[in-house]
């Protein structure tokens, strides 16, 4: 046994915190389809035991679309195996996780080009013609 990671962790993933979140996701899909209301679940405020977050992520799986945002560090945004359910993870410039969310939406807002950036882009491009 040479590193801390080699020490087997016992007692993980038996705390029952994953299933209620999957239920919440299910209800959020109802809201999205029936009322067109998106939902964001902030995972930072929820208690997870060792291994539970990984269990939740595995339960949602991987879907067709993966995006990477490079702004104030890297963010990974991917659709899960359940279309309309997105796993969003924000990291800072030190690659530390600063936020984890499950977004139940058709398209996460942060992926859209923002008006302020579009305006700055137009000005920048215009300058190249002057």
């Amino acid at each position: 046994m040479s590193t801390a990671n080699d020490i087997p962790i016992q007692g993980g993933a038996a705390h029952g915190n994953v299933r209620p979140i999957l239920f919440e996701v299910l209800h959020a899909l109802d809201k999205l389809l029936d009322d067109d209301i998106p939902t964001t679940i902030d995972l930072a405020g929820l208690p997870f035991g060792p291994g539970e977050l990984e269990k939740l992520e595995a339960a949602l799986g991987h879907g067709e679309l993966v995006a990477q945002l490079n702004a104030l560090g890297t963010s990974h945004i991917r659709e899960t195996a359940y279309p309309g359910v997105w796993w969003v993870e924000h990291r800072n410039v030190n690659d530390e996780v600063t936020g984890r969310y499950i977004e139940i939406t058709r398209f996460p807002e942060i992926l859209s080009s923002q008006d302020a950036d579009i305006g700055a882009a137009r000005a920048r491009l215009r300058e190249t013609f002057e």
């Binding site: 016992q10 007692g11 993980g12 038996a14 705390h15 029952g16 915190n17 964001t40 902030d42 930072a44 405020g45 929820l46 208690p47 997870f48 035991g49 060792p50 539970e52 945002l69 702004a71 104030l72 560090g73 963010s75 924000h90 800072n92 410039v93 030190n94 530390e96 996780v97 600063t98 936020g99 969310y101 807002e109 942060i110 923002q114 008006d115 302020a116 950036d117």
Partner: protein, 351 residues
């Protein structure tokens, strides 16, 4: 008064894109325990907020609170909150010293009269003024002089919030907390030994975003972070409900990650956010590392008996509090209480 740029201008000058700004706002919402639906409102508020002046005073303290905070202030999203304030005075971090440092404090007070924030770590000795002085000024005089024009005061750490270790029995310096002395200004207590860095930044973010201090509990702590007990949000809580407890630090229960109540865990009577915000960039918190909660964010925690004595022995908090905690958990019941009484008898006998 010199021009104070808005936070939006500061971020723009740093080349932060709108997407980056939204990411910043998402983290801020998470910090403040606000629902993600508040992100657009936070974005609007932060963009137009003016950079506030902050004066940080350190009294009878170990610098652990500053250490905790600066460990979180690497160039991160939450670190931007610190870029967005003007930290005009801080003994440990500022380059100036002596008269120049004091001149900086006075200049910040004059330029921002009525709108600056005072952050304090460490308790204040009220015995001999010579116990702790800065630039020849006693801690009491410096505190009372500095808070005169402040919008609010934030007591960082258990020493500033409740007296902490210097105030523990027999309290040789007559140490008191900020709220014992400052009674005519809003005082926010952010206790912990040390406090969770993100909680400290969140209080600043709240002030920055909404221009007001957060909602507080009866001990002056922000409810967003101190509204639940460690026990309420502990991932080991299901074991408490099932009556599964570690009896020693190396038994099968400890190895299986069972509840640490019988090993003295103060989680049921301790209000803090360790169980969800966690430490070391969200790696873990003491209970997750196999150690009971010491209750460091509660008033006078040093003087409430041994850290390894179970709550049911009655040393920590009132009997009613403990009974309430036991009722909240379904299955603790007589077994743990009886074990606690046996243990109390053992401690009494040994003492």
């Amino acid at each position: 008064m010199k021009y104070r740029p808005t936070v939006g201008e500061i971020l723009q000058a740093k080349g932060v894109s709108r997407r980056g700004f939204l990411k910043y706002c998402a983290t801020t919402a998470s910090l403040l325990a606000l629902p993600p639906s508040m992100i657009p409102r936070i974005a609007n508020a932060i963009e137009s907020a003016r950079r506030p002046s902050v004066i940080w005073l350190s009294f009878q303290e170990c610098t652990g609170c500053t250490e905790s905070l600066t460990r979180s202030a690497s160039p991160t999203v939450e670190g931007l909150i610190f870029d967005a304030i003007s930290l005009d005075y801080h003994h440990t971090l500022q380059a100036a010293s002596g008269d120049q440092a004091e001149a900086a404090r006075h200049a910040a007070m004059e330029e921002n009269d009525g709108s600056y924030l005072v952050l304090v770590d460490g308790s204040i000795p009220t015995g001999n003024p010579g116990y702790s002085t800065i630039a020849g000024i006693s801690n009491v005089d410096m505190l009372m002089d500095t808070v005169k024009g402040a919008a609010a005061v934030v007591a960082i750490g258990s020493c500033a919030a409740f007296g902490g270790l210097p105030g523990a029995d027999p309290n040789p310096t007559g140490a008191v907390s900020v709220q014992d002395l400052v009674t005519d200004k809003p005082v926010v207590n952010v206790p912990g030994c040390p406090p969770i860095p993100m909680v400290m930044t969140a209080v600043l973010a709240q002030f920055l975003t909404f221009g007001q201090i957060p909602d507080l509990d009866k001990h002056g702590r922000p409810l967003a972070f101190f509204g639940n007990t460690i026990h309420d949000r502990c991932y080991r809580r299901p074991f408490y409900e099932q009556g599964k407890f570690a009896e020693t630090f190396d038994d099968e229960g400890a190895k299986a990650g069972w509840c640490l109540y019988k090993l003295g865990c103060k989680g049921p009577t301790t209000y803090n956010a360790c169980a969800t915000v966690k430490w070391n960039q969200g790696t873990s918190f003491p209970i997750e590392s196999g150690h009971p909660c010491l209750g460091c964010s509660e008033p006078k925690f040093w003087d409430k008996g041994g850290f390894y004595q179970p709550l049911s022995t009655g040393h920590f908090g009132s009997g009613a509090t403990v009974a309430g905690a036991a009722v909240a958990g379904v299955a603790l019941g007589a077994v743990a209480a009886a074990a606690g009484r046996r243990r109390k008898a053992k401690y009494t006998k040994e003492a």
